[in-house]
């Protein structure tokens, strides 16, 4: 079997291991070396890849719901989309959701994902009451912030390297509409963009699409979109059928010019200055989910998403330098997403910290990794870090500099023999 994740790079030979019972999973863990749990493969690079992958997605039973507390108990293979499908009509939404709903709850915990409300609500771990995880020794451990704080801090953001998450209890948030009042702010340059983020930081949801190819005075221009749920009682949410792209687009479809045209179109679409829209959950939170397997537009060779974050103090200069480097390289991105984040949490490998994060796509081509190395260097120099769940290239040195708790994480893994069982291509590359 070939295995790959969302970036379709790398593609490797692997064995997909299915388990029907906990006993069967225990045997798999006992018998095999170098395993890694696999959710829905929406990580971009090699975090979920190794020669043995454990398929968790088929384990998708809902286990219980406490209406009074808004506490939902599900198996780790349940997709966020399944939660929305059944719970939005009943007036519940995820407290934290990333930009796609097609990820598993296990994957959401393992990457400690975040969304447009990070500056207000933090990471996915904030909504977790507790979970069960199967350890390297095949034991099922009940994990919560209070009872097993180290395991909690290691597992949330721990990229599947502490065990297989089996089920979790998560808090949902009450909503009274499937619509969001959105304000779109069009800015002319990076300075305006930063000012806009600051002045709208009380809005619960915010994210910006930035035009990476703009040069000179226009560098850093963006569309900032902020919003909050309406209160109109309209909750008749249905999952829409995805449109599909029927074939692997040839790689050349995404050359510099098409990217530029796309950026211009999107950027050109919004009216000048500030405008208001009423949009639904899928348009606001999950625009990319509208098209099934849009990752194929980058062609057979695949692509990667480069996402880094810089502390507030160095964000402005750092971003300027990075945007300049990218636009000089002529390698551009379909999507570049900029966001102001809130404070870091205590989890050892969680990505977010207070500052600005940029995420952009690059199709796989010659010279890409040396460009990424160059960007890494700027990120490190500005005391930033790289998001593991997107990464496919970062070096051990760059990675370590960004994550101050890495030694604690390593020691914890060693002490609990996790490093003898759970490894991904990524964990081997960055030595964790």
């Amino acid at each position: 079997m070939t295995c790959t994740a969302w970036g379709m790079y790398p593609k490797i030979e692997c064995e997909k291991l299915h388990f029907s019972t906990k006993e069967a999973l225990r045997k798999i863990i006992h018998n095999k070396q170098e395993l890694i749990p696999y959710g829905n493969g929406r990580s971009y690079g090699d975090s979920a890849l190794n020669h043995n992958i454990i398929e968790v997605k088929p384990h998708n039973y809902f286990l219980g719901f406490d209406e009074d507390k808004g506490l939902l108990h599900v198996e780790a293979g349940v997709l966020l989309s399944e939660i929305l499908e059944h719970f939005v009509p009943r007036g519940w939404f995820l407290k934290v959701t990333p930009g796609t709903k097609l990820i598993t709850v296990g994957g959401a915990i393992a990457s400690d994902v975040h969304g447009k409300n990070h500056h207000i609500a933090g990471c996915f771990s904030e909504c977790i009451a507790d979970f069960n995880i199967m350890s390297a020794e095949g034991k099922i451990i009940f994990c919560s912030r209070e009872q097993t704080p180290d395991l909690f801090k290691a597992t949330c953001g721990g990229m599947g390297l502490t065990g297989v998450i089996l089920d979790a209890r998560i808090y949902l948030k009450k909503i009274n509409s499937k619509y969001i009042d959105q304000t779109t702010i069009k800015t002319k340059n990076l300075k305006e963009t930063f000012a806009a983020f600051e002045s709208y930081k009380d809005k619960p949801y915010s994210v910006a699409w930035i035009d990476c190819l703009a040069k000179g005075d226009e560098r850093g221009r963006c569309l900032l979109m902020v919003g909050d749920f309406r209160d109109d009682g309209k909750l008749d949410y249905k999952i829409k059928k995805q449109k599909s792209i029927p074939f692997n687009f040839p790689g050349f479809a995404l050359n510099n010019w098409t990217v530029r045209a796309f950026n211009w179109l999107y950027y050109g679409k919004a009216r000048k200055g500030v405008s208001h829209q009423k949009v639904d959950i899928d348009t606001f939170f999950y625009p990319l989910d509208a098209i099934d397997h849009w990752n194929q537009i980058y062609g057979k060779k695949g692509f990667t998403q480069y996402q880094f974050i810089l502390p507030r103090e160095t964000s402005y200069e750092g971003l300027e330098e990075i945007l300049t480097t990218i636009s000089k390289s002529g390698k551009g991105s379909f999507l570049a997403v900029l966001k102001l984040y809130g404070k870091a949490n205590e989890n050892w490998l969680s990505f977010p910290m207070e500052g600005y994060s940029l995420a952009l796509d690059f199709k796989m081509e010659k010279g890409l990794f040396s460009l990424l190395d160059k960007l890494d260097e700027i990120v490190v120099r500005n005391h930033g870090r790289i998001y593991l769940t997107k990464d496919v290239n970062v070096s051990k040195e760059t990675f370590e500099k960004g994550y101050p708790h890495i030694e604690t994480f390593r020691q914890y893994r060693k002490k609990n023999k996790m490093d003898e069982k759970f490894q991904s291509l990524q964990s081997k590359r960055v030595g964790i």
């Binding site: 039973y61 809902f62 286990l63 219980g64």
Partner: protein, 243 residues
């Protein structure tokens, strides 16, 4: 009336179909052997949809029990869906008649026994739907699985006759013909990825065809055309082929 009865409910296609019907507002009777194994699924569906789910023990080969099985349902179902099936071991069945018989009885005789009873009730009532999962294997006998195929061919013909009989009573009869589906039945087979459907996709097709009042549905849809071609190959040619 709000219940749909699904027999052979432990099948992967049936489980996905159960979720599909509950999602669309139906309560469920799920019937099969050792049905308590479905306790977790029943709970899953209740948590997801707040619909009622009842589990009922049923062996399709115990024909004598079928009457009392149907009698016990206090609220009669709106419709019934059978996913009962047994692929069996073709080679073994060629020399061991008990295997051949199990294939025939599970796929054909047992389903007929139960559907006869339900059809009478629906006919009297003048409403309802009956969905039988047959197979593309019933469209033409092939050396690799003609015992299974012939039993499914029997089921297809039975459903066609039943549809004809119940037309005036306004009871819908739907024949479902899946191609390859990734389920427990096929887990050890090396199926071509592009032609193999997931149970969830099959369940959506079943639900949508039933709601639209269709008679026959191939799932995935392209099997209609694949089988069209396989059916027009002349017998003198077909007998020499290995497909």
């Amino acid at each position: 009336m709000s219940y749909v009865l699904i027999v052979g409910a432990k099948s992967d296609i049936a489980k996905a179909t159960a979720r599909e019907y509950a999602k669309n507002g139906y309560d469920l009777y799920l019937a099969g052997r050792n049905i308590s194994e479905l306790e977790n699924l029943a709970n899953d569906i209740r948590v997801r949809t707040q619909k009622e789910v009842e589990l009922l023990e049923l062996d399709i080969l115990e024909y004598e029990s079928h009457h009392s099985f149907y009698e016990q349902l206090e609220e009669k179902p709106l419709g019934v869906i059978s996913a009962v099936g047994y692929l069996g071991d073709q080679e073994k069945a060629q020399s061991d008649f008990s295997e051949a018989r199990k294939i025939m009885d599970t796929n054909y005789t047992g389903v007929v026994s139960l559907f006869n009873i339900i059809a009478d009730d629906f006919a009297k009532r003048g409403s309802g739907f009956i969905v039988g999962i047959s197979s593309v294997a019933g469209d033409r006998g092939r050396k690799s699985n003609y015992l299974y195929g012939s039993a499914k061919a029997g089921l297809t013909a039975y459903l066609s006759g039943l549809r004809n009989r119940l037309y005036d009573a306004r009871v819908q009869v739907l024949t479902v013909k899946p191609g390859f589906v990734a389920t427990r039945m096929t887990e050890n087979m090396d199926l071509p990825e592009k032609l193999t459907a997931q149970p969830e996709a099959v369940a959506e097709d079943i639900y949508s065809a039933q709601q639209k009042g269709k008679n026959v549905v191939y799932t995935k849809w392209f099997w209609k055309y694949i089988m069209m071609i396989i059916k027009i190959i002349p017998e003198w040619k077909f007998k020499r082929m290995s497909i």
